[in-house]
Symmetry: C2
Subunit: 324 residues, 2 copies
Amino acid sequence: MTPEQSPIQEVFAPLSASFPGAAALRDDAALYATADGNELVLTMDSLVAGVHFLPQDLPDLIARKALRVNLSDLAAKGATPTAYLLSIALSASEHGDWIRAFAQGLALDQRQFGCVLIGGDTVSTPGPLSITITAIGEVPRGEILRRGGARAGDLLYVSGTIGDAALGLRVLRKGDGGIPGADSLRQRYWLPEPRVELAPVLRRHASAAMDVSDGLIGDLTLMCEVSRLTARIDAARVPLSGPARAMVEQSPDLLETCLTGGDDYEILCTVPEDKAKGFEEDCRATGIAISRIGRMEPGEGAPLCLDADGHAMTFMRTSYSHLG
Amino acid sequence: MTPEQSPIQEVFAPLSASFPGAAALRDDAALYATADGNELVLTMDSLVAGVHFLPQDLPDLIARKALRVNLSDLAAKGATPTAYLLSIALSASEHGDWIRAFAQGLALDQRQFGCVLIGGDTVSTPGPLSITITAIGEVPRGEILRRGGARAGDLLYVSGTIGDAALGLRVLRKGDGGIPGADSLRQRYWLPEPRVELAPVLRRHASAAMDVSDGLIGDLTLMCEVSRLTARIDAARVPLSGPARAMVEQSPDLLETCLTGGDDYEILCTVPEDKAKGFEEDCRATGIAISRIGRMEPGEGAPLCLDADGHAMTFMRTSYSHLG
């Protein structure tokens, strides 16, 4: 956040007010002290207008999505968010009101998730608006969760519901076809729900975790690769919201969109069978729904996804390539 | 660095090899443990093609510049670089060879400056190539240097030479006019020299420091504002390289370009008078030239810059607005 751009510095500086190490964004860098006994978890995600969000999306929702996709990564690692750095490349279209609304979105989510803006950069671009956030979280030493920790036999779980955001994007583009509750799908596309409260539960019980950002099947494939295992899941067990279920009933092809579409930002994790009961109880205490969808299995290769009749499903593509 | 983009992951993963917490870039996030007794310094800078570098610049030089502008910020805070996260938004023009050359540039500078790629993101953009780096450094607890620590009477120093990069950009655009050594000016535009070795010297002696990235006069103005002081400098004491001096002799107006142009990435710092001797000696030991250019003074407002005849200079603008 270069002070030379002082109108922008004035808008963003209040977001750093509770963090002395941010020096009110009037320095080249932030100072950060990790709490004793903790390690840092760092993640960085970029969002580009027309690729990761629609150019006409509201600025506060763009801001919150940019922050939340990073918080989702931290949650999947078992980390509690503390701070973030923001770099924003402004196109000719974003002016004072837009920037203020963007900052208000950040302010809202900072309060909700307990993290603070501590630094960053503002540049102009002849291209589309682009936002990059580096989010910082903390975990007790040695307790980070990885994608690669799964063992054969571990149970596979996902949080929340899958496919809403991908269907929401479809609704935004093609209309809602009269589906009741379609508005909630759009909402899920605009505003993911990072599962920050699951972080300590994952640390206690899970053997591996990641967030589902690029499609459940594709992301599960990655988890299998890194864990050097394969997996078997039942499509009928993958949790769908009411509106998603209604759309899939109307157009059964959309089940593939749910299973391979992106932007879910739910947690995919593996839990050893003997910890399953405790895991499910602790999840219940957070109020976040969790569904067992299958199991990790020995072997290699893409996970097997069985349909309601027990037949292996095949997919046109296993993960999401955003708006492209 | 999303593993879904596996060709890119393969190119970048070797850069993270020495850092287990990076998980070979095959996870959502990096794990970072700060050394006992240290605090972290974090900085984030974005570079956009056509704004911060020329689209035709070589990929290895673009990579190194993107890293070095961040390392320069760390050095100015007295921090030693350890790691960085990289987000790269690729346009339709960057392909395999380009990306490999970019990664080779990073590899070279990682070795030179002792830092490691630990995470990041790769996205595609319909706009220009854009690069954002979050660099991490460490300082002993309580020893970070700030812009705002200067006291009235402190001496003002800059490292290296000032104006080379701004003149180098001019040479790239308008030709070198037969100036001997003009090539070195272009080189300085492409490849800043972050003063990483000055970090411990600054910690020992300086009261305030920042890097000169947007023009000496503009950046000094910021330091004055944050320190609630003003300053007086002698233009004749501002160190110019041989080729810069030759260009200014040919076109005296270019002195203003040197004093207000950007991309110097030299250190501007203040040192209490009683520490000046030790500071100069310690700088000499690093082999990095340092010049005393003036003094911090009580009062407020823009610094006074005197020309060789002792007259106050005025400037069209005090800082750089990049290629715009």
